[in-house]
Assembly symmetry: C2
């Protein structure tokens, strides 16, 4: 589907999404958006009441997509080990395509904190998930399961966030970086599982 096939509202949304991601809300102007979308300036306000409203729409959809994957994954019929592997490889693939996503979400999220938490219902998604029930069982005594989940997310997501600094620091080109992220699809689950209680065969 080429860009021309999208209707005006979607052209605007797509262009705005890229610009917000790249430059943030403050540095992006409605004129930028209209120009990048190839539509008239007035149409931005015609379809979305304001720049702020357009931003909220995009942000909600972005975060929904990000969390939605998690919801499905955490409740399907895979084993615990498979869930871990899928978690890491799914998010690695997503972040290979859209490495700016986490910073976008996290840097803008505090300017719109109220709507987020409520509409998303992350809390309930997590508490109900089978994955977390099993994680709690396999968690070493005295260690809160959230610690281990933090580690899993951290080791999966942070390398993409820190890439600008890490890859300069390590003198690493982009190709090498991607290669390492591929390796981590296997490594991170291993590291993560080794943090759990020793498991008897079953």
């Amino acid at each position: 589907m080429s860009e021309k096939d999208l209707d005006t509202a979607n052209k605007i949304k797509q262009a705005a999404s890229a610009l917000f991601l790249e430059k943030g809300f403050g540095r992006t102007t409605t004129r930028d958006i209209a120009s990048a979308a190839g539509v008239n300036l007035a149409l931005v306000n015609y379809y979305f009441r304001s720049k702020e409203e357009l931003f909220k729409t995009i942000m909600m959809e972005t975060v929904q997509g990000f969390i939605g994957q998690l919801h499905v994954l955490m409740n399907d019929q895979h084993t615990f080990e498979e869930k871990v592997e899928l978690f890491v490889s799914n998010y690695t693939e997503l972040l290979k395509k859209r490495p700016d996503l986490p910073i976008f979400m996290l840097s803008e999220i505090r300017n719109h904190p109220e709507e987020m938490a409520e509409r998303l219902g992350i809390e309930q998604i997590i508490k109900e998930a089978k994955f977390f029930q099993e994680l709690a069982q396999r968690c070493p005594d005295g260690i809160h399961p959230v610690h281990l989940f933090m580690n899993l997310i951290s080791m999966t997501v942070f390398p993409f966030i820190g890439k600008p600094i890490i890859s300069v620091g390590a003198g690493m080109d982009n190709e090498t970086f991607i290669l390492m992220m591929e390796q981590r699809k296997q490594l991170v689950p291993q590291w993560f599982l080794s943090m759990l209680k020793p498991q008897t065969e079953g």
Copy 2:
């Protein structure tokens, strides 16, 4: 030292730093800065040629401070294990005080990529550090040392970055979050060291 004791340039820098951190470059205006610093609008441009120049100054100092610690730490006379513990506890303390620091740095860094890399010389700092030489030795065969260093940074820093989402997701108040970060000062080094080659006594 109260704010009144600072000279004008420093009052501006301090106010601007807080605002850039809170709202980013794009959303922060020179009027905000002057007002927060309690100085006349024209003085912002008198001391720093432009808003952009002021930002660069602050950014450089911030990143320098962040990296500088690392340089000292990685080369002093502590043992490898002590270096790991100091790394985690120093940065945890820093991030407890200024949790917005990583996102600020990382979200704005790509708008000013050229100056960063060069002036900082991170690459050289890292390559020369004793810490990395020992890390390379103790790294399991076939695993690049940078993987393990990524894990150490990730597990230390990411929880602060992801706090807005994690703490909502886990239904966690601020006090509990800080308590967990305190626990991680001990836990992260344990997890990290367990990823290394088994070590014989000596």
